[in-house]
Amino acid sequence: MKVSIEINGTTVSEEVEDRTLLVHFVREQAGLTATNIGCDTTSCGACTVLLDGESVKSCTVLAAQADGHKVTTLEGLPGDGDELHPVQRAFREEHGLQCGFCTPGMIMASVSLLDHNPKPTRQEVREGLEGNLCRCTGYHNIVNAVMNASGQEVQR
């Protein structure tokens, strides 16, 4: 079937199998490989992208379901000129990533979290990111990064 999705501001129209997952469409048809696949049970969140501004796990959305909608991936996060998006900047400043594999999904989930709750508590950050797994950081610095991105003080 023919699927058209606006990904990071560019419309990608491709003929794909009906069963094509959004994450594969993003990676293969759109050629954007930041979004990773970490599991097959919707558990890990590595594939998190924004669908019409809301975070979704793109391994559990069919490309067909996103037909005619807008998707934002890590590559499309708006920065200010050459500057990074505040969440990207904060992940670097707070060492919120190590191997980087969960990072694209973690950043997109954090963007969505802050969109809904601009000044979260640390506990709210932990609960908001429960669906995104990280094996490297023990989450401490991810929480710091989200707090930093929200403009709140972080104790290192």
Binding site: T33, S43, Q98, C99, G100, F101, E127, G138
Partner: protein, 745 residues
């Protein structure tokens, strides 16, 4: 001012946070154009005789090849004393064992074709536990005559504990867990027209992978190039390479096509090696004043179906006595095969198991004699003046301040106040019990004695390219090494490129595991830089018409000491004329012994069994800290994984060898909500065993935190009659332990 020791954000990060890493599945290199996709068909049965009919699959859309054991014409390879087939040959021995390989044009065609492969499984009795293996009723390898494939030590003295006033003994199960890096295993391969194989592999050490793959394919090492793209975590389970990589290389040649492979997570959880899986009986005897007189450790390692890695129980024996000076010590180990996923390294690899056993035993001994667990530890610590200390098990500890580390966490945590709060709750009959858990640990890093390579090149523009044999995959070692070289050479970090993981660029190396990279890889580059500086000083002296001894390197330029007005020479000037390079093998770095102490605080709801980890206070001493940012990051990750094992994670099998936690929906991978903020206390005790004075930090916090959290849970329940329960301390386990204690009383 030197940047070494200051907090420096990572040079790795920009790419990772803007475009994402380039992991093996992200590769879009020309050599992989037209690559076919690969999928292994894996056994759903733990132990069975099999017959395979792949004929229907060959007719499926897009199928390029279907291969089974009958097709593979490679020499068999050994796992320990037995043969591990490339693809299961007549019998399967664990759920997840590869039975066939399918190649298709399109990714989604793989599962369709795999469905059509007809495998007939004729079940055999499964050996699904250590106890079943030891019973010997069913053997995995009849020709071995036993399931016990390795035995070390065990000639015990019956009178070892005769002088003791108190003896405690406990079997401590160190449960099987899944390493579960976020990036599963993946590989891609392509044969060149020159008959050379290029293998892109998610690995912790390309060079050892190259050796394994070349041997498997019957090639010389030079005929294989391994390239390591970004690696999404390894935790020991990506050391070297698994048999799948050899099969992929073989299939790529057979099909005449480049091949891409990435497993699914559910495949990964049953077919990437698991970790831990020991059952350890520990006995401690001593006097009522807290002095331990005798120690015995009997290790049983579940090696899984094929014993790929046999050093784990040996490492556990080596580190068995931990931070303590025990007069009488006896250890033994046995490794058994079972119908389960093979076991290999997982963050700590043998040392967490040792620490878990001794630290549980010290608590049990303390409880038996009615002494505070902190005090019992203090009485038995190896003292600072005793270093270097030769342990009775054969380890040579370099430096340590064990008492200091313990005191630091007790003070930072407010131990006395916490004990008072615990007493208050007990007095009041509070159903939410407070538990305090201690662990004091020492571990061994760079324990493989394998050395490491480092090659340095000053480019004609004065920039630096450093080739390291280490193979970081999240640790931030590029930044750490660039900081050290910047400090040493006076070249800004952004003019230093760190390269690793391509066997054409770095042919000889050992890689990243066992927390070895800074102490060995870093030391190799330190020595390479020393050599380059020495050569450059001679060249600069010529230009400055001075004696080399009078020329100094200061802030990146060479000048005559005390006479800066006489001019200077830059790296670029020297490198434009003469090749400035050095290639070093740092081979004399003996293992080092990081140490520390952890204090965990838990709350346990005694009505439901639910455990909440409230605090963890960690002192981890690995010598001088190069970059506090990544040093803390390694500790955070270690604390998270250590706590995960104590609280939640376990790879379970039923009696027929079926894994019951084989998806991420079932496996209790720890999340952000189950961990507290971490409280870190610093301590820096250098070693003399390498020029940087450093020890490894990659695994230390895992080793300390697991027993600290475990001990905290038992401590919370001790007043209710619970003496021990095994990990993970899930609500059901806790509730059961409380229920059993009530019945016993």
């Amino acid at each position: 001012m030197s940047i070494v020791g200051t907090r420096v954000v990572r040079i790795e990060d920009h790419q990772l946070i803007t475009q994402g890493g380039t992991y093996v599945e992200d590769l879009r290199v020309e050599e992989l154009t037209g690559a076919v996709h690969a999928m292994f068909v894996r056994s759903p049965v733990a132990h069975a005789r099999i017959t395979v009919d792949a004929s229907a699959a060959l007719e499926a859309p897009g199928v390029v090849g279907v291969y089974t054991a009958a097709d593979i014409d490679l020499a068999p390879h050994k796992a320990g004393p037995v043969v591990e087939p490339w693809l299961a040959d007549g019998v399967v021995r664990y759920v997840g064992e590869p039975v066939a390989l399918v190649l298709t044009e399109e990714r989604y065609q793989l599962a369709d074709a795999a469905e059509l492969i007809d495998v007939d499984y004729d079940p055999l009795e499964a050996v699904a536990s250590i106890d079943a293996a030891l019973s010997g009723q069913t053997l995995l390898f009849e020709d071995q005559g036993t399931n016990v494939l390795q035995t070390k030590g065990g000639d015990f003295d019956d009178a070892a504990f005769d002088d003791c006033e108190v003896v405690v003994t406990q079997t401590v199960v160190n449960q099987r867990v899944a390493p579960a890096p976020l990036e599963v295993r993946g590989a891609a391969c392509a044969w060149g027209d020159d008959g050379r194989l290029t293998l892109w592999l998610s690995t912790q050490n390309a060079q050892i992978s190259r050796a394994t793959v070349a041997k498997g394919l019957g090639l010389e090492a030079e005929q294989v190039r391994v390239v390591t793209p970004d690696v999404g975590g390894g935790f020991g389970a990506k050391i070297g390479t698994d048999p799948e990589s050899v099969v992929l290389g073989w299939a790529s040649k057979r099909a005449g096509r480049p091949v891409r492979w990435v497993e699914t997570r559910s495949e990964n959880l049953v077919s990437m090696t698991h970790g831990r899986a020991q059952q350890n009986t520990v006995t401690v005897g001593g006097r009522r004043d807290g002095t331990v007189l005798a120690f015995r450790l009997e290790v049983v390692q579940d090696a899984g179906a094929y014993p790929r890695t046999m050093f784990l129980p040996t490492f556990t024996q080596l580190m068995g006595t931990g931070v303590y000076r025990f007069p009488k010590v006896e250890t033994s180990s046995r490794a058994v095969v079972t119908n389960t996923t093979p076991i290999a390294a997982y963050r700590g690899a043998g040392r967490p198991e040792a620490t878990a056993a001794i630290e549980r035993a010290m608590d049990l001994f303390a409880a038996e004699i009615g002494m505070d667990p902190a005090e019992v530890r203090r009485v038995n610590f190896i003292r600072p003046e005793e270093f270097p200390y030769n342990s009775p098990t054969g380890a040579s500890y370099d430096t340590g301040e064990y008492g200091k580390a313990l005191d630091k966490v007790l003070e930072a945590g407010g131990y006395a106040e916490l004990r008072a709060e615990q007493a208050r709750r007990r007095e009041a009959g509070d159903p939410v019990a407070l538990g305090l858990g201690l662990a004091a640990y020492v571990e061994i890093t760079g324990g493989d004695n394998g050395g490491e390579s480092g090659r340095l090149l000053i480019n004609p523009d004065g920039s630096v390219t450093a080739y390291t044999g280490s193979s970081p995959h999240g640790q931030g070692l590029d930044t750490t090494l660039a900081m050290l070289l910047s400090d040493q050479l006076g070249v800004p970090m952004d003019k230093i490129a760190i390269r690793h993981g391509d066997t054409d660029e770095v042919p000889r190396a050992v890689g990243t595991f066992g927390s070895r990279s800074l102490q060995l890889g870093g030391s190799a580059l330190r020595q390479a830089a020393d050599q380059v500086i020495e050569r450059a000083r001679e060249l600069a002296a010529d230009r400055l018409e001075a004696a080399p001894d009078d020329v100094e390197l200061s802030e990146g330029v060479f000048q005559v000491r005390g006479a800066p007005a006489s001019g200077w020479v830059t790296w670029a000037q020297l490198a434009a004329e003469t090749e400035l390079t050095a290639d070093v093998w740092f081979g004399d770095g003996a293992p080092t012994f990081p140490f520390g102490a952890h204090l965990a605080v838990v709350e346990v709801d005694t009505l439901t069994g639910k455990v909440v980890l409230k605090r963890i206070i960690a002192c981890d001493d690995a010598g001088p800290i190069v970059n506090p940012l990544t040093f803390q990051g390694q500790r955070h990750g270690g604390l998270g994984q250590g706590a995960a094992q104590a609280l939640l994670e376990v790879m379970n099998y039923d009696a027929d060898g079926n894994p019951t936690t084989a998806t991420l929906a079932d496996y209790s991978f720890i999340t952000a909500t189950e961990l507290p903020d971490f409280e870190l206390v610093d301590s820096e005790t250098p070693t003399t065993r390498n020029p940087l004075g450093v020890k490894g930090i990659g695994e230390a916090a895992t080793i300390g935190s697991t027993p600290a959290v475990h001990n905290a849970v038992v401590d919370a329940l001790s007043h209710l009659g619970v003496r021990h329960l095994d990990m993970p301390t899930t609500p059901l386990r806790v509730w059961q332990a409380l229920s059993d204690a009530r019945k016993a009383n």
